[in-house]
């Protein structure tokens, strides 16, 4: 596998999944959500995990996000096996290693942007003054330097998602896990948010994993993994087709056909 962002194979992967399975017991029926997933994600990658509903995509996201543990297989996060940890240990891992961005933002209502961003730092046990400083830095990074004390209902959808991204960044996690981050945003705002992700990835080397069924999100990624029926269907690494620095700015469009042709060309 040729890597484009200069990493070597000697680097420790952020995510290393080996033969991950997940079986849910629904009454008498066993549902095999994941049937053996192998996946490695290296630092600095921007990867989209795609798949139709029922493909096991959400289950995989929950496991990668340390919200759930696999039935079998191992998951090493930053070289540490997290596949058999207890709830509270997982909570600590999530706190230190993972930043979440959700489709519906999940900001605390009636709470200022700064306070929302501070949330992970509270659980990391950081003192109030330093917390505020870090939260303000994160908000500046996402372009909300002038919105510290605004509450979610005083912010637009795009701004709310920026607050959520700042919250995901604030603990300097190993990766950001974004679940349909543009699902609740209009096209123009979606582009802004995806460009923000891309900038964070390129300028600050932050590993970002998207879980999405939206091909436009995938266009910003340099790797796309497709899941179907609990297995990896395809895993392709390529140049992001939509990019703030891309030579073809028209690729940043809602027209998915061109993106598909690009991908086919790469194949």
């Amino acid at each position: 596998m040729v890597q484009k962002n200069g990493r070597t194979n000697s680097q420790i992967p952020v995510i290393a999944l080996h033969n991950i399975t997940k079986v849910y017991q629904m009454g008498d029926v066993e549902v095999h959500a994941l049937r053996g997933i192998d996946l490695e994600v290296y630092p600095g990658e921007m990867i989209a995990i795609m798949g139709p509903s029922g493909s096991g995509k959400s289950t995989l996201m929950n496991i990668i996000g340390c919200l759930d543990v696999p039935t079998s297989g191992t998951y090493e996060l930053d070289g540490k096996d997290v596949s058999r940890l207890k709830d509270d240990q997982l909570a600590a891992i999530r706190n230190h290693k993972i930043g979440f961005v959700f489709q519906n933002f999940n900001l605390l209502p009636r709470t200022t942007a700064v306070a929302n961003v501070e949330l992970p730092l509270i659980y990391a046990g950081m003192g109030g003054r330093q917390r505020r400083k870090r939260a303000e830095e994160a908000l500046r990074l996402v372009g909300l330097g002038d919105r510290f004390d605004h509450k979610p209902n005083e912010l637009s959808g795009g701004q709310q998602q920026r607050v959520a991204i700042a919250r995901a960044l604030v603990n300097e996690p190993s990766m950001i896990l974004a679940d349909e981050p543009t699902g609740n945003l209009d096209t123009k705002t979606s582009v802004e948010i995806m460009e923000l992700f891309q900038r964070l990835n390129r300028e600050r080397g932050i590993t970002i994993v998207f879980v999405t069924h939206n091909p436009e999100t995938a266009e910003y990624c340099n790797r796309v993994v497709r899941i179907r029926d609990g297995l990896i269907e395809s895993d392709e690494t390529r140049q992001a087709t939509a990019s703030i620095h891309a030579p073809k700015p028209h690729a940043v469009s809602s027209n998915g056909h061109e993106a598909v042709t690009v991908k086919e060309r790469e194949r």
């Binding site: 509270d88 909570a91 999940n106 949330l119 992970p120 659980y123």
Partner: protein, 414 residues
């Protein structure tokens, strides 16, 4: 997560739903308020009653004829044989009753006292001269009659303060003025200090004269063998620690004097101030238990209210809990957050309740005026601790439920 942080989150959550928070607190507010108000008023009444008894004279024993045939608080005696002045003299003998400091005898009856066309019906206390000493009570004008007055059966009288006011409406100097008691002329020699009402009637509405004068000239209430009959003998004891011993010695002496056989019942009664106070203590104790029951019930109801609202709150905030867990909150963090919220709710309710109860107690004591409600620090601290403990107890289940939420399900909750 620090408790302080949890407290801040709790305050924010409670402030977000102000009306609901106040309504939830209502049970605690009413419970704590009622307890504080009633306890303060109870304390005030207790203090008032104790002061009244203290006013009777220090370390005093009352010896009265007859047995108390009906239990407290109606200290009604069934007189069989009267006490006599001889009994008093015997009790005053320190070789028989070691700890007795002073004794006085008192014969009480109703008399009509008149002066310048005014007539009042008051209690006459025909006493021995030691009466002011034993009762720890002095005159404001003039003086009490002396042993000489008593021995000479002088027709002298000391007026209770209210009787003086009634007979001397213009505040004339009363000493050496003449009043008629049951038609007989008496010379006024003094006026007693005001003592106010208390157990045994209002002594300010009475007159005091020598027992000898009373029994020889006025009432002629003697026993068949010519002894002075008395209603009550007061014995003051040198130290409160010696009261039981003195009581025992007097009992033995009286049984002997009155020829009561072994195992027969006493036909007289000795009451100490402590006996009287303990009767009121029993009443107040019963009241306290009653108040405690009210408090327990209202705190229980208040606690259930808190549990109910906390459960609603946990359900409403499922998404928030899910998010907190996703960003790193451990079970303990969520548990503490909701426990602190429940405790804060209860504690604030408790504080409002204390303020309410204090206000009520003040209003009641202003209204009645006779006593001052005493809001004890211990009652306040206990109420707040109990209220907070109620919050803790009834907060456990909702908080536990919140802490057990699965972040995946919680984040997806609509």
């Amino acid at each position: 997560m620090k408790v302080l942080e949890a407290l801040r989150i709790a305050m924010r959550a409670l402030a977000a739903n102000k009306l609901r928070s106040v309504l939830t607190m209502l049970g605690i507010i009413i419970g704590v308020g009622a307890v504080i108000a009633l306890m303060s008023i109870g304390r005030g009444v207790e203090k008032y009653v104790t002061d009244q008894f203290a006013g009777l004279g220090s370390n005093l024993l009352f010896i009265a004829p007859g047995q108390i045939t009906e239990g407290p608080p109606s200290l009604r005696a069934n007189p069989v044989r009267s006490l006599t002045l001889g009994d008093m003299v015997a009790i005053a003998d320190r070789s028989r009753v070691p700890h007795v400091a002073a004794v006085a005898a008192d014969f009480q009856t109703r008399v009509q006292v008149s002066r310048a066309g005014k007539t009042v019906t008051v209690q006459a206390n025909a006493t021995t001269p030691e009466y002011p000493l034993v009762r720890n009570w002095n005159t404001t004008i003039g003086s009490y009659f002396s042993t000489l007055d008593s021995d000479e059966r002088q027709r002298v009288v000391v007026l209770g303060s209210e009787t003086y006011q009634q007979l001397f409406p213009n505040n004339e100097y009363p000493v050496d003025q003449t009043v008629q008691i049951n038609g007989m002329n008496f010379r006024v020699i003094g006026v007693m200090e005001s003592k106010g009402g208390g157990p045994g009637g209002n002594l300010d509405r009475s007159v005091f004269l020598p027992l000898t004068t009373g029994q020889d000239r006025l009432f002629k209430q003697k026993t068949p063998n010519g002894e002075y009959r008395v209603t009550v003998i007061y014995a003051s004891i040198d130290d409160s620690a010696n009261i039981p011993a003195a009581q025992e010695a007097i009992t033995e002496l009286m049984r002997e004097r009155r020829g009561i056989k072994y195992l027969d019942q006493d036909d007289f009664t000795i009451i100490s101030q402590n006996d009287l106070i303990s009767v009121f203590g029993d009443i107040l104790g019963a009241l306290t238990i009653f108040l405690g029951a009210i408090a327990a019930i209202s705190l229980l109801v208040g606690g259930i209210g808190i549990m109910n609202i906390m459960l609603v709150s946990v359900t409403e905030r499922t998404r928030e809990i899910g998010l907190r867990k996703a960003v790193g909150a451990k079970r303990g963090d969520v548990l503490i957050q909701f426990l602190i919220e429940a405790m804060t709710l209860a504690a604030i309710g408790g504080m409002i309740g204390v303020a309410l109860g204090w206000g009520l107690a003040q209003i009641v004591s202003t209204f009645f005026g006779e006593f001052q409600a005493v809001v004890g620090a211990d009652a306040v601290v206990t109420s707040l601790v109990v209220a907070t403990a109620v919050g803790l107890f009834f907060g456990i289940f909702p908080a536990f439920r919140a802490s057990r939420l699965n972040p995946i399900d919680a984040l997806r909750y609509e």
